[in-house]
Symmetry: C2
Subunit: 115 residues, 2 copies
DNA sequence: ATACATCGCTATCAAAAATGTAGCAAGGGG
DNA sequence: CCCCTTGCTACATTTTTGATAGCGATGTAT
């Protein structure tokens, strides 16, 4: 039985209430979801191109994530393969600052470990 | 063998390169990580309080997530139980806009389904 | 001191999800 | 027809998550 797509308003993995933020976290908290959104941000990619970008993702999981993201209106099929929808781009806009933040986080962790 | 904590600079689940953003996505892409950060944003919580807030999390997983988040410098133990570190608060600041966005996403999904 | 409650977990086992690899059906080019 | 790429599906294995019970430590009231 394949996993269900988290839908705001309905109980999801981890929340009886189905609060939108919890549904979103359920979706984003699955392996590769964040990575796929990140990779698609620069333009449409074919299934295999996406697979290559995400070095270690199995086709099984990639396909499942793409279906979930499509059902959630974040991804759709464009001329060049899979692409972010408008909503997907909005979400990515929120995600973008994570890039630079992760950099400084990495530096902080190094300092933390060397002490 | 328990799961390892994703560390920037080292290969992680899903990335040979170990780019910080990929390490971060690996961490955030585990079940309950996002939810825990969210719940801790309003102040320190004890283990059991956290368990109650996250309705369905098992102690096994909660404990594992807390260890990972501690090792990653995002969470530490304060006077009132577990709390966000400074870095954790920075990350939450990036996460906060997801709340309102999730609301409008929920509305969009309803419209999408009713058409 | 004893009884009881609460807290932060750990142990154990079952279920679900992810991984790795192989390969198929469809479409295009030569 | 032959060969190549694309978008997957099948299947077996490993990893992760989930559910439940309960232990040892600490505090508090009796």
């Amino acid at each position: 039985m394949p996993a269900q797509v988290p839908i705001p308003g309905q109980p999801v993995r981890g929340s009886r209430s189905g609060k939108p933020i919890m549904a979103l976290f359920d979706l984003l908290g699955r392996s590769w979801t964040l990575g796929v959104l990140w990779q698609l941000s620069e333009g449409g990619l074919t299934f295999r191109a996406l697979q290559d970008r995400c070095e270690k993702v199995s086709p099984t999981v990639l396909n499942r994530r793409l279906k979930e993201l499509s059902a959630s209106g974040l991804v759709c099929r464009g001329e060049e393969g899979y692409a972010l929808t408008e909503a997907g781009q909005e979400l990515f806009a929120l995600l973008r600052p994570f890039g630079p933040w992760a950099q400084s986080w990495a530096v902080m962790l190094e300092d933390m470990d060397s002490d």
